[in-house]
Symmetry: C2
Subunit: 168 residues, 2 copies
């Protein structure tokens, strides 16, 4: 099998019977949709001085006020180091302020700056239109069905991964 020529693309490896797009249709779809969605979010947030991902953190701060970093880590389900670095950048761009927690000298309290509040509505609108764009052409029944199925999938992935002590 090493010397035969066959069709140019075939037998590159073992004479593989199946093909990419069929091996995990939903998995592939999730990947693509996620990246497209993130890109779209990035564009929607273009004029807001926020990078995709930061808006979720800011939303949480706008909603909950001053919180300690651990809370963000749990709420956004991110790695601690990720949050640290995001906050460093957000602090540098003036969207966030950090101060030591008087009640626990290990902890840090984080809150949105007053200036950042100007972005609040802009972000809300951006996410609104993003949601609308995402769901265009889906009737209400389909939307709730999609949400239900995604929730189920999320639970599947979360449970089996088993790194969610309390979120599930």
């Amino acid at each position: 099998m090493t010397t035969g020529r066959a069709t140019p693309a075939e037998d590159a490896c073992t004479n593989a019977p199946p093909l990419t797009a069929l091996s995990g249709p939903v998995s592939h779809a999730v990947s693509r949709v996620a990246r497209l969605h993130r890109t779209a979010a990035g564009k929607a947030l273009k004029g807001v001085d926020l990078y995709p991902g930061q808006e979720l953190l800011m939303m949480h701060l706008w909603d909950r006020g001053a919180v300690r970093q651990t809370e963000l880590i749990r709420a956004l389900d991110l790695d601690p180091s990720t949050v640290t670095k995001m906050l460093q950048r957000l602090e540098q761009t003036g969207h966030v302020r950090r101060r030591p927690d008087p009640a626990d000298r290990r902890a840090v309290l984080v809150e949105a700056t007053d200036e950042s509040c100007a972005l609040h509505t802009a972000v809300r609108d951006a996410w609104g239109s993003l949601e609308e764009q995402t769901l265009a052409g889906l009737d209400p029944a389909e939307r709730t069905e999609l949400l239900r199925l995604l929730a189920k999938v999320e639970e599947n992935l979360c449970r089996e991964t088993a790194d969610c002590p309390d979120r599930c």
Copy 2:
């Protein structure tokens, strides 16, 4: 409003009426599912010497044999620079080989190395079980429905973003 205590979390900003989780339910769900899915893929690929994202590129190479980089860029819908860097790393780890395209001196032909073919089935199995884990508890009708809705969403995001000259 600076001195009042109110509820601890409220009025951090404008007295915002709505709240994070409600602003874009599907968008949030997509984000979370995507990250969980990616993490799960990473774990499944842990013993395979591949990082999440690389497996899709390799799958394409295994399926199609030697292709030029442009084809990967279009097939995976990634930025050219992303593909370049991924290939540099994959080349360094010995999974991929690059050689100049004799027909076009600008282009580069990429193909999976023979060694990488050992991973072929492992990756296929990993994605198979990942797919199964993702869809656990969904009956066939729900699966096809999910797939259909995701395709619709993908088209929405792809069309409006309008950076897909031919893919849509």
